[in-house]
């Protein structure tokens, strides 16, 4: 029978099947079909599932999930209805978070690279190797951590480096994601983190998305907004972006601006408020002071006057800004009118757009500024608020102060009083905390990738809970060169093989999420806690234990910094009867709740900057509490929704109404900054005519090391792509799905085109998600960074786009080692 005949018969059979379907059903015996079904599918479960609460492992929203555990394994996830943040709802990552534990290639034993291969070694040997490296030259050791560190993990690492090693070379990957937001808050309010909270989303009349796409990146918060429409409420969404996204589909207004000109748009709003006299006089007279950058931009700047401010913004008329930004004059006037209306409640949300920006701190300041100038601040639904992308970017990076310039509780390395307070709490010799700010992320990796003889002073980096081999910008400059240098040693603690572990000299298998106790802090100052529910696989162990074990080994070698001024080890854990627990020995790590004891010590720092944290036990009962959590006369620990506002914030003096009690001008005023629009460091040119923007997608989280192991998420978006405007595609002869060659001055990448896909960039602009390790877009991105926050700009650089030549393929790096032993 030839193929045509076969096809014809198939077609006829299909048609017959349909035409006769009633008959067919009667002819079959249902019992026969049942036999083929696996009876386990309908097995009764009974009462053997134990449910417990935990914040989701992924983003900075901080949803609480309920985790169902049976026989030592996570078997189900449910949204936690008691959680204020998500009110029982989760996103697709959250519903599948339990699967992230069970990728079949979990790292289960320490491995050392010998002769180009990763070979299993014991934990004792691994700890000894790390200790050797540090002891040989403590100054050349650096730690690169994460906004995914739990609070106790970050605290241990921070104390080990800053107290134990006497330098400040520790920085988290949060440098790459919200350093600009932190710098914006500190230089505006004198203290970090949002004054408002997610409650705004339930009350705002208008929500403005400044260059972010919460429909995909913060889906729960986005639903909190759009679900109000389903309930019959009106909420206006204004999407100010550089490409159309799923968020745009829900927006009332879409303002498409030329990359980097968001600064001019913010100034344009201020110009209109002043020109039309619709700014808030009360705020200008009572609550606001003015600042401008010093010759060398820094956090504090110089005093300026209202008159200077007025003159500075005067040129940013809608007409001028329209030519600069490409946004229509009418749309700019719409924004001006909106902020000029005191009755409207306006919430500004932003995330990586203004943060990953070579003028990120300035852009953050300007966003606060337009809210302060118009008085849209401090009411429910009325205020500026940045979002974070990691579960504890706020909790661990910003509050525990794991930045190179920071100390716990919002204290600063550069401030002598702050160093003194830290030495007091840690019981250190006076002067032990190094007054020099440590190496920020870009500088740390630059020095690691520079030969020691040429000033590359960092010889060993210990990476925990992050994947810099994929997520650093300009990998060809910051990451790859170090792997060719014999005296550079890379230690990586992780749960799965990644682009970083592949290049690591020493791999340490970590416990993740509910395989250990943990605490994190979300974007709205909410500190959250969970308990260990299942055992980690093989020899995987918590990062906090790993750091403790190394610190203790250094103590045993008599490294002086590991002792406090009384000669005791920096980390002491006590049983209820007062005896000491050697928690650095794995067999004793769970003899006490190490998290609780570390947290209670850390908590003492929180009072300096009025970031008061409650005792550990309060967090066990709550679905997170927003700091400052202040004990009331009746003994109740009360969280704070709106800081600096009388009646909400316990630290605002009676009768003040609004009091910025950490004001850098020391007069209870917030600082409004003057910033001119500055052109980006790299713009499209005839040689590289396209803008490249990078980012995330809904299904994948960061570098995909967890979500790419979840079948439902990987199945939905199995690989990266480049979004291309249809007109550009026509012009360049690129079909949907065709392979495209992207080239920047720094690197190149072959990647398939997606036209009219999920995001739609304007002409002259392309977008590539960064989750796919095999299509490393960060080979192309720019490492230029904000002069104040040191946060690089992943959102814009210039590229060339062309149809890839026939036969072009991606040269994905081959693994440096065989697949790790799964059995452990």
């Amino acid at each position: 029978m030839d193929r045509r005949e076969a096809l014809k018969l198939t077609a006829l059979a299909a048609a017959t099947t349909v035409a006769s379907r009633r008959v067919l059903a009667q002819a079959r015996n249902p019992a026969q079909n049942t036999a083929a079904i696996d009876p386990s599918v309908v097995r009764r479960m009974g009462t053997d599932v134990r449910w417990d609460k935990a914040p989701c492992r992924f983003c900075g929203t901080g949803c609480h999930v309920q985790v169902g555990v049976r026989a030592g394994r996570v078997v189900a996830i449910a949204g936690d209805q008691l959680a204020d943040v998500n009110k029982g709802l989760l996103c697709v990552k959250g519903y599948h978070v339990g699967l992230a534990l069970y990728g079949s290639d979990r790292l289960t034993q320490p491995m050392l690279k010998r002769n180009g291969r990763h070979e299993p070694i014991s934990w004792d040997e691994a700890i000894r190797i790390i200790t050797d490296k540090i002891a040989a030259d403590p100054a050349g050791f650096a730690m690169y951590g994460s906004g995914q560190w739990t609070i106790p993990e970050g605290y241990v690492a921070n104390k080990m480096v800053k107290a134990g090693l006497g330098h400040n070379n520790i920085d988290p990957n949060a440098r790459l994601c919200m350093a600009s937001a932190a710098a914006g808050y500190v230089s505006t309010y004198g203290v970090d983190e949002p004054a408002s909270c997610f409650d705004d989303l339930d009350h705002a009349d208008t929500v403005i998305m400044w260059g972010n796409n919460p429909a995909e990146m913060h889906p729960i918060l986005f639903s909190r907004i759009v679900d109000r429409r389903a309930r019959g409420q009106t909420v206006e969404i204004i999407d100010i972006g550089t490409r159309r996204t799923r968020t745009t589909g829900f927006a009332n207004h879409y303002l498409e601006f030329k990359p980097h000109t968001d600064m001019a748009i913010a100034n344009c709003i201020a110009q209109q408020l002043l020109a039309s006299n619709t700014h808030s006089r009360e705020w200008v007279e009572r609550f606001v002071a003015f600042r401008k950058d010093a010759a060398q931009p820094n956090l504090l700047g110089e005093v300026a006057t209202f008159e200077e401010y007025r003159q500075k913004v005067a040129r940013y008329t809608p007409e001028y800004v329209s030519t600069l930004s490409g946004v229509s004059v009418e749309q700019l006037r719409m924004l001006g009118r909106l902020f000029g209306d005191p009755a409207k409640r306006i919430t500004s949300l932003w995330c990586m757009g203004p943060n990953q920006h070579t003028r990120g701190t300035a852009m953050n300041r300007l966003l606060h500024g337009i809210h302060l100038l118009s008085g849209h601040f401090g009411r429910e639904g009325d205020g500026p608020q940045s979002l974070t992308g990691q579960p504890s970017a706020c909790g661990t990076a910003r509050e525990v102060g794991t930045f190179a310039h920071a100390l716990p509780g919002g204290l600063l390395v550069a401030n002598p009083e702050h160093r003194h307070e830290t030495e007091e709490i840690w019981n250190l010799q006076p002067g032990r905390i190094n007054a020099n700010i440590g190496l920020h992320t870009v500088e740390m990796w630059k020095r690691f990738s520079t030969p020691s003889s040429e000033g590359g002073s960092v010889h060993t980096i210990w990476v925990q809970v992050t994947n810099p081999g994929q997520s650093l910008p300009n990998l060809n400059r910051l990451f790859k060169p170090s792997r060719q240098l014999a005296d550079k040693f890379l230690i990586v603690s992780d749960v799965y093989p990644t682009a970083t572990t592949r290049e690591a000299d020493l791999i340490l298998p970590s416990a993740m999420w509910v395989e250990k106790n943990g605490m994190v802090g979300n974007s709205e100052r909410r500190t959250q806690q969970w308990f260990k529910m299942v055992d980690p696989p093989g020899q995987a162990r918590p990062d906090a234990w790993q750091t403790l074990a190394v610190a203790r080994a250094l103590f045993d070698r008599a490294i002086p910094g590991m002792r406090d001024k009384d000669g005791n080890f920096l980390f002491e854990f006590k049983r209820p009867d007062g005896t000491t627990v050697p928690a650095w020995e794995w067999a004793h790590f769970y003899d006490v709740n190490v998290d609780e004891q570390l947290f209670e010590e850390y908590r003492r720092f929180s009072r300096f900057k009025h970031k008061d944290l409650a005792p550990y036990g309060e967090y066990v009962r709550a679905r997170g509490l927003r700091w400052p959590v202040v004990r009331q006369p009746n003994g109740v620990w009360k969280e704070t929704r709106y800081r600096f506002i009388e009646g909400e914030d316990s630290y605002v003096a009676r009768g003040k109404r609004v009091q910025f009690y950490h004001s850098t001008s020391r007069d209870d005023r917030a600082q409004m900054w003057l910033h001119d629009y500055v052109a980006p460091p790299e713009s499209p040119s005839p040689e590289y005519p396209f803008w490249l923007c990078t980012g995330r997608v809904l299904e994948h989280w960061h570098t995909g090391s967890m979500t790419m192991r979840v079948p439902q998420l990987r199945g939905s978006v199995p690989q990266a792509y480049v979004e291309l405007n249809a007109r550009d595609a026509v012009r360049l002869g690129i079909a949907n799905g065709a392979l495209v060659l992207l080239e920047s001055p720094r690197g190149r990448l072959v990647i398939p085109a997606w036209i009219d896909g999920r995001g739609r960039p304007p002409e002259g602009s392309v977008f590539v998600p960064f989750f796919d390790e095999r299509l490393p877009i960060n080979d192309l991105t720019l490492d230029a960074h904000c002069p104040i926050s040191k946060q690089p700009d992943y959102k814009k650089c210039a590229v060339r786009v062309s149809l890839a030549p026939a036969g072009a393929t991606v040269t994905a790096p081959s693994p440096a080692s065989p697949a790790p032993n799964r059995g452990g």
């Binding site: 599932v49 417990d52 029982g88 260990k532 199945g715 199995p718 392979l739």
Partner: protein, 267 residues
């Protein structure tokens, strides 16, 4: 009535042919102004699916040269078993199959199902065209949302097969893309005595619209009496499942304490 007028397309099995939804027919390329982009055939992969229509396509389908489909869509929405059609009680085979079919699209009992067909990747609320009320399309059922109306459907529901363009890629650093997670199974309700109404064996959070799965369109788990509206009048929640918002969280004995039994942490 002219024959042409009565011509109706049963999308149904046409859709089955590509295992996509009926709406797949509207799929693909839309804006003729950009037609040249698509002239070169793109690489296609096994299992690749159709795309559901955007609202714009829907509008276009109601007017223009595709108008006849619109009538069908509306007509199909009415095509569903009658409320009073008899349903056999105790159809174990049907229930078994229905639960197996559910398990195919869910990571565990209670997980949001994946989307078994292509979608418009940017105009997400188009899903509600079929899934707001539910629709039977031949033998396929587009179930109604069992939860209150949410518009951002893809927040929770991922596509089972992607619309992302693909190329052949190695695994990268990963040794495998496999996952050994074993999800919680759907459970059975119990009856106090033969003939008693069965208990509700699952949480009702996000599954509060009983008729979505147990109404006339619910194959295998269909109620024998879908016309009755107040389900919880007779069907109590199973005692084996703590359905309170607390969800059985026991705060008195921290799991880390009990998990620390000897042998649990052999170094």
């Amino acid at each position: 009535m002219k024959p042409r007028d009565s011509q109706r397309l049963l999308y149904v099995l046409g859709a089955l042919v590509v295992s996509a939804s009926v709406l797949g027919f509207f799929a693909g390329v839309r804006d003729t102004g950009r037609a040249r982009v698509y002239r070169t055939p793109r690489v296609r992969y096994p299992g690749e699916l159709d795309t559901a229509p955007s609202y714009r396509d829907e509008r276009e389908a109601r007017r223009g040269n595709r108008a006849r489909h619109a009538g069908n869509l509306a007509a199909m929405a009415e095509l569903r078993p009658a409320l009073f059609d008899p349903v056999p009680d105790g159809d174990v085979a049907g229930l078994t199959r229905a639960l197996a079919a559910r398990a195919l699209r869910r990571a565990y009992a209670g997980a949001p199902p994946t989307i078994p067909h292509g979608i418009d990747d940017i105009a997400v609320p188009a899903c509600l065209t079929c899934h707001e009320r539910g629709m039977q399309v031949g033998q396929r059922v587009a179930s109604a949302m069992p939860h209150p109306r949410y518009d951002s459907c893809t927040q929770c529901h991922a596509q089972a097969l992607p619309s992302v363009p693909r190329m052949d890629l190695p695994l990268g650093a990963a040794a495998s893309a496999e996952n050994s997670f074993v999800g919680l199974e759907e459970q059975r309700g119990t009856r106090a005595w033969i003939g008693a109404p069965p208990t509700v064996p699952h949480r009702t959070a996000m599954r509060s619209q009983c008729e979505s799965c147990h109404g006339v369109l619910g194959a295998g788990i269909r109620s024998t009496h879908p016309w009755r509206q107040s389900c919880r009048q007779c069907h109590a929640q199973a005692g084996t499942l703590d359905q309170s918002p607390q969800g059985g969280v026991d705060e008195s004995t921290p799991p880390w304490a009990t998990l620390n039994a000897p042998g649990m942490h052999a170094p």
